[in-house]
């Protein structure tokens, strides 16, 4: 802040004496941009690839992106800047480098943090409802819809709203709007 303030006063001082309008704002902007870039670089240091082996780093990233960071729970271990996520990435890196398989590393993490760390939870008796409910809901709705359609297909024609071209003849019968409203309730 002090720097900006200083350059601002310097800037206005210059404006009074000379007319080099463009150089100083340009310099201030550049300085600000630099500061911004530098600070982002500082934040990003945690997530930057640290291993020399790009293949290993790619395997680590792939695995870390399916693990949940337990500190900031809606982020993956790959995305999170939490210190614990950095530790977990380092742990994955070391274990993969030591020749462990992806499954072994996953088992290592679940032994410590539970199935909760997995974004793709395993199927067991505790997660059965989670896995089966969407399918059951879908089947239930389809069955309901089928039953409703069968019931309606057996109703007499009188139970339905007349086709609009017939209903629009004003002289015979009641107002088409009220007819539609009452027949819309009846078949259900």
């Amino acid at each position: 802040m002090a720097e900006i303030q200083a350059s601002k006063t310097q800037h206005s001082a210059r404006l009074q004496h000379t007319h080099t309008r463009r150089t100083l704002p340009g310099r201030t902007t550049a300085a600000l941009l630099c500061a911004l870039l530098l600070s982002t670089a500082a934040w990003c240091r945690d997530a930057a690839p640290a291993a020399d082996d790009p293949a290993l780093e790619a395997r680590m990233r792939a695995l870390a992106s399916e693990l949940r960071c337990v500190v900031c729970q809606n982020q993956t271990v790959a995305d999170s800047h939490a210190a614990l996520a950095a530790d977990m990435r380092q742990q994955i890196r070391q274990q993969l480098a030591a020749g462990q398989s992806e499954d072994q590393v996953r088992a290592f993490m679940t032994a410590r943090y539970g199935d909760f760390v997995l974004y793709r939870p395993p199927f067991n008796d505790r997660t059965a409802l989670l896995w089966l409910a969407p399918g059951a809901l879908m089947l239930g709705s389809l069955a309901g819809l089928w039953g409703l359609m069968r019931r309606r297909s057996r109703l007499a024609d009188a139970a339905f709203e007349p086709d609009s071209d017939l209903a629009l003849e004003p002289e015979d019968g009641p107002n088409p709007d009220s007819a539609r409203a009452s027949s819309a309730i009846r078949p259900l």
Binding site: V71, Q73, D87, M88, Q91, T110, R112, Y113, G114
Partner: protein, 174 residues
Amino acid sequence: MKKLLIPLALFLMLAAFLYVGLSRDPREVPSPLIGRQAPAFSASVLADPARRLGRDDLVGKVWVLNVWASWCGACRDEHPLLMAWSREQRVTLIGLDYKDQRAAGQAWLADGGNPYADSLFDPDGRIGLDWGVYGVPETFVIDKTGIVRFKHIGALTPAVLRERIEPLLRQLNG
């Protein structure tokens, strides 16, 4: 009448799910360690780098592991309670100084008092990782055979001590 009952039933179901779901604390990740053997460790003691303490040194007694750090704000809130509790001498209280610097940890205990029989020093958080630590402070109760019986995440409160931990200690010691 039946037409009214279906939406009502759906609403009640939704309400029940929301009631249960929203009353849970998502920060409380259930620990898979409960009922299992405590993770093995052997760490240098905070007060003395030359001395080591391992899991097997503690087999045969009920003990409590409290994870703390000098940088941890909630540990500061919890500290007076631990001090008072340690004076009652109910259990062996072991600290785990998590991702800290030795001098900072030692200074913290010198400042606020030391409720721990010993504190393990875990500068890189490797022991903490084995214990599934993700939010300091955390507290574990370990029985005589080395099985983890209880875990509390976050600062201890008098209620947790009196209602959860002390009854458990009586049961484990009895």
